[in-house]
Symmetry: C2
């Protein structure tokens, strides 16, 4: 089968062996697979991404082939040996799955494994028990975005929002946009969102942001203060016992950028008592000034991934039209197009999410 | 009056004007005042401590006198002008107060102000409405430790402990010891505590730690895992659905060191899902690796100070013998002894808390 392969730290296309499903496993045809920012990170910061201590994809070897791709929709081709479980899906059924293959009571991350291919190849292995049929005739490329949208849903769940919170989203790449969609779904608002890119700000509005900020023109933190002060939540906020002034409602700031310095910048801008949810994946060492966070009693929740329940719920929300994904998709490529797509995705004006369709000639 | 004064970045002793109480204010005689690690920080890292952006004591001027001291017990000498409020305390009453003077609807931090002296001077100004009488004939130096012990109580409150949590205290200086005392009071345990100093480890046991670790010999994180796995909480913990192994109960790690690198080290050692409460005040830039925290979905709560209710409650706990403070007090000095005490406090084998008694000759 054909696949886009990271080999010797380059992205190339080649033929590789089609994997054979073991007991409980299913061979599937990859119909669509989104390119994730984490894949760009893994490609460019391979050593940090795979470093043992950080325990994240730490079994990956630089000298073995890697077929990435963990945001996919696929079609059942063939079941592994063993009896069929009750309620087995028919061959040909379109499915989504968490990108995790469970073997020998351990999880193998599909898309970050040297042993099994991810969605940048024509075929993959998945666990039969993790398959979720794609409902409502949802297009393949929309269903493929279940995974990144689940990341946003999980981040918003981890924020443990109260009706008093006013959210601020820093960075409107796919992660920030997924967070905005889930905030909107939760009824949180006003949603303030900031990004330097005009195209990303337009997408943020499409996904549900109420106020979008260009940080080159206005401080996102001042804009948040203004919006929070004018919000319905502000009417219920406590009063400063010394000054009699009404306090601002609690802020929940989502870090969706993932480059060094952003957390510190947010600490400078934050109002006292804010909670940060760190969703952006910063692969490098990141200096913070604890004194900033101490003086304001800030809280940081770092988050990763989603639960199986959140993943299934996200697919359901997309199928029901409650989480929009169509606006995010800005391109489709075959396996030969992956290397160029990795380069193209660096331009936020041109692209948000490029979907790989390995069956394309 | 005499005071130990930070003048031109040196600690000297001199006579300064006795302050005059305004309306609502009280002139008090300082009976006892603890030397806080923050005072050593302020003395040695004055520019960071007073930097505008970090909003912490940012009104302090390097070219004006500073009389520090914010952990005190005092005696009422004289009331400011105006009618006596109902229930006025008698002159001569021994009192504690949060180290905050409210003037013109703004808080002036007593001990970190160029305008009013702190407890390293013979007399201070306090707000009448913030005075708490010292109960039960509690000795002056014990009552003075209300402030640092309230820091520990607040940190434990901010941890929002559940009955499942197993705490780990990194660093057993006065802050860590205060945290241990409040954990014990809450019934949390086993309390695992780590410090390089044998004297500090002995104090940690005295304050209520169940297991004390020398990080030079054993990893505090491995020791925590062992203790958490053997705890009563472990019997109630969830099971890993893949391996069938019992998960560890949730960890709540208190950072009570406040030097760069400790948070990162804790992130390396932490179990998945741990919460950190950052109580140590790191005055410098501190590199962390967000990837460590993301992979484990760690949460960090930075904390500062205490509420008025927590302060009053702490005094009550000390007076009732529920928070031990006597073991912490390792020395007493007059104002002339402050400069040497600042140096002596760098040796954890010799000292934990030195109390200034400005009336001493």
């Amino acid at each position: 089968m054909r696949a886009a392969i990271m080999r010797n730290r380059e992205m190339i296309t080649d033929e590789i062996a089609t994997p054979a499903p073991g007991p409980g496993e299913v061979l599937v045809k990859t119909l669509a697979c989104g390119i994730c920012g984490s894949d760009l990170h893994a490609f460019e910061h391979f050593d940090a991404f795979t470093s043992q201590e950080e325990g994240f994809a730490n079994n990956l070897a630089a000298d073995r082939d890697l077929v990435m791709g963990h945001e996919f929709c696929a079609e059942i081709l063939e079941f592994g040996p063993g009896d069929a479980p009750a309620g087995r899906l028919a061959s040909g059924t379109r499915v989504c799955s968490m990108p995790m293959l469970i073997r020998n009571a351990a999880g193998v991350p599909v898309g970050y494994s040297n042993d099994v291919p991810g969605g940048y190849g024509e075929q993959m292995l998945l666990n039969e028990m993790l398959l979720l049929p794609v409902p409502n005739g949802l297009p393949d490329d929309h269903a493929a975005l279940t995974e990144p949208m689940a990341v946003g849903l999980h981040a918003v769940e981890m924020a443990k929002l109260t009706p008093d919170d006013v959210p601020l989203v820093i960075g409107c790449g796919p992660v920030g946009l997924a967070v905005i969609a889930s905030l909107k779904l939760k009824g949180a608002g006003p949603i303030i969102a900031a990004d330097y890119s005009p195209a990303r700000r337009t997408l943020a509005e499409t996904m549900g942001a109420d106020i979008v900020i260009d940080p080159a023109v206005n401080s996102p933190y001042d804009s948040w203060r203004e919006a929070a002060g004018a919000s319905a939540q502000a009417q219920r906020a406590d009063v400063n016992p010394l000054t009699g002034e009404r306090l601002l409602p609690p802020g929940v700031y989502f870090e969706c950028v993932g480059v060094p310095g952003v957390i510190d910048q947010m600490m400078v801008g934050a109002e006292r008592g804010c909670r940060f949810v760190v969703v952006g994946v910063c692969m490098e060492s990141d200096p913070i000034r604890p004194l900033l966070a101490i003086g304001k009693e800030l809280a940081l929740q770092f988050v990763l991934g989603y639960t199986p329940e959140e993943f299934a719920l996200t697919l359901h929300h997309i199928a029901e039209g409650r989480i929009p994904v169509a606006p995010l998709i800005t391109g489709h490529v075959g396996v030969e197009g992956v290397a160029q797509a990795f380069r193209d995705l660096k331009n936020p004006e041109a692209h948000a999410k490029i979907v790989v369709e390995p069956w394309r000639s």
